[in-house]
Subunit: 217 residues, 4 copies
DNA sequence: GATGAATGAGCCTTCATTCAT
DNA sequence: CATGAATGAAGGCTCATTCAT
């Protein structure tokens, strides 16, 4: 599929793809800033330097565009992430890799955070379902669960409800990023302080989590 | 006439101070469901069974109404919360009280969750700032930080960066609630399973956190 | 009627009249500033320090209020003017009196100017008709025409079409006042210059008119 | 197809550069009839046979449209007027030309009269300022003032304050037109009489003015 | 008389979407 | 593919007017 694209694109439609991609990128930014309801098709057109009608040439509707734009970032994000979390490493290294992966995800694709937040607010988010299906069994959660089970089996971890253990790890990681504006205000941090804080967060999380789950000597 | 009113008002307060409050309640629901951008004034009027113009009789604009509605729930919520978290109790009891308070907050006022989520997505949320100022120094974070310091001093807790410790506790609690739809999908839980899961969550969090921060014997 | 009023008013309705008058005065100001279409009932109520509903207690509709307010100023204005123009005086004195009367009218009741201007723009102004009927045969035009005729008869004035002569006199007087903002801009006059200019205008008009109509020696 | 257009456009320019101009024309009529406050965007759309939204595609707001429409008529009017007033002609001819120009202006563009009247009623009319700047130094007033000065210098005219002299000429001309509905009522003229009266007015004005300013033999 | 609250119709403006070229 | 113009359906807000007390 990618071969096909690469070879066919040079000749004629070399200009075709860019437009579509530009629209997707513009849409992503717009929706990240304003949400689906607050996002404006005009603004997307402007951002992409295309005529508004062009958007409807490439996409069925604003909502479709939204879905495709979101799917698109996730595709890129997941691709970039690849296999940064390997079960071959020591447990704490693996946890660190997982944490890094989450932080990198939101740093590398800053539009994901606001979009995800807004989707979490939506009663029956199709986006959330779609994203989940994209990540599927290859995601970090699956890897973590497997490792947890093994660690419990060999006695390194306390006997915990692993669903909660996973939920806690996710909450610590993703939740910290999601809630940063709140925590900033509580701790009276300015922009640069918040940035530094976030950078230290990974270690703090892994440390707390490890101690929290490890079986007592 | 005034006698009449006074005596009649007690029995049927459902109509006592209606319109403005009905509008606020309707607005809260509408904005919780659809956000500020997606919320419709017409729908709020309908929900409140008032004429659309009545909304503008009581409130300056849609945005003002939004802010007042949010301020209003928080006022009620904070009032209801009172002093459920007391520093006189053993540490783990206090943590449990704090967790309970958060869970109760979001259960008792289910509109807060989606509103908070969407505000977290907003670059410079005035709402977040306002809410923070409403909670102020009486909030749980302040109490926790104080207790943490004391516990570190007496050697019960490991020497940790307390800002991160607090952030972790908040992420575990609030983050878990915020991210529930995500976790549900990851763990393939249906509605009732999710509910049960959330009910157990409090203990799981306190357990993990306590173990995570406690100094080793 | 006036007896009736005077004797009855003291007892009870002493407060009644003021409200109505306050509304009329407020309406006059509002309509002078914004016109009938641009005038706001709310603003009139505010200006009159009465409840908006009170306006509808005293007047049928916004339009009615407008008409009554206009009729009211004119009534006051005409009353105040009385017989300032007397045919007993020398011709040029009489012209001066007429000019003074017009200038006084617009200075003493500054709301009349904008209202009149806007009514002149209305295709079939009922107000204009009403005002005309209020002034009737006692107005300055009638007096002037009579004097003109007499002056033509005795040879002091050239044989002119007296309708045009009258029109010219009115245009010179009222027109000058109406068009002041325009003339100000053409002659680059500031506020105080314009005021001084208007004060001199009376003499300039009488002088030009007199020379313009007088039979050559 | 494009050929078709090119060849067809000449014969039927009625559709050549339509919408924007149609809107401007419709707006002009609407605002002339009802004023800015009373003018309705819906009605303008209807008059122009365009969708209401089209108005906002071409113009920023109702007020902008108003300003542009007014600027537009004045542009056309001034263009049409050109140099009808020449200083090479005898004084009374020149005055006649000036009078003709004013009468033609208001006859050729009947919307200007009501618009000007309403703007004269506006405390700080931007329109009046704009119009003045459009006319600038090429307008009749400048030409008249220059001629007046010259005529005073050569002794043909009495020594008058030329600002007042100009004001009087303008009041006689423009004022007569503006105040016609008033004069009609005073002189009890019907439609056709008023029309005839207005046609004679030019000569009456020039005659009065000339005699009024001329130095006595 | 007087008021606060209420209402229906309407107003300006915007938005997603489509059409003709 | 690309564009400028067009459109119908709201959407937020306002206004004159009325009602209950």
């Amino acid at each position: 599929m990618s071969d096909d694209q690469n070879t066919n694109k040079a000749p004629a439609p070399a200009e075709a793809e860019p437009t579509r991609k530009r629209i997707l990128a513009a849409a992503l930014d717009e929706f990240a800033e304003h949400g689906l309801a607050g996002g404006r098709v005009d603004r997307i057109a402007e951002r992409a330097s295309v005529n508004k009608a062009m958007i409807y040439y490439h996409f069925t509707s604003k909502e479709t565009l939204y879905k495709e734009a979101v799917a698109d970032v996730y595709r890129q994000a997941l691709e970039g992430l690849g296999d940064k979390v390997s079960a071959d490493q020591p447990f704490e290294v693996m946890l660190g890799q997982a944490a890094d992966t989450y932080f990198d995800l939101f740093v590398g694709h800053p539009q994901i955070r606001p979009i995800l937040l807004r989707e979490l607010a939506e009663p029956n988010s199709e986006i959330l379902t779609m994203v989940q299906s994209m990540i599927g069994e290859y995601g970090i959660p699956a890897k973590l669960i497997a490792r947890f089970q093994q660690k419990v089996a060999d006695g390194t971890l306390r006997k915990l409800d692993l669903r909660h253990t996973l939920a806690s790890f996710l909450a610590l990681n993703i939740g910290s990023i999601m809630m940063l504006p709140m925590i900033r205000r509580i701790l009276h941090m300015d922009d640069s302080q918040a940035k530094a804080f976030l950078a230290e967060r990974r270690d703090a999380i892994v440390d707390l989590f490890l101690n929290g789950v490890r079986a007592k000597a």
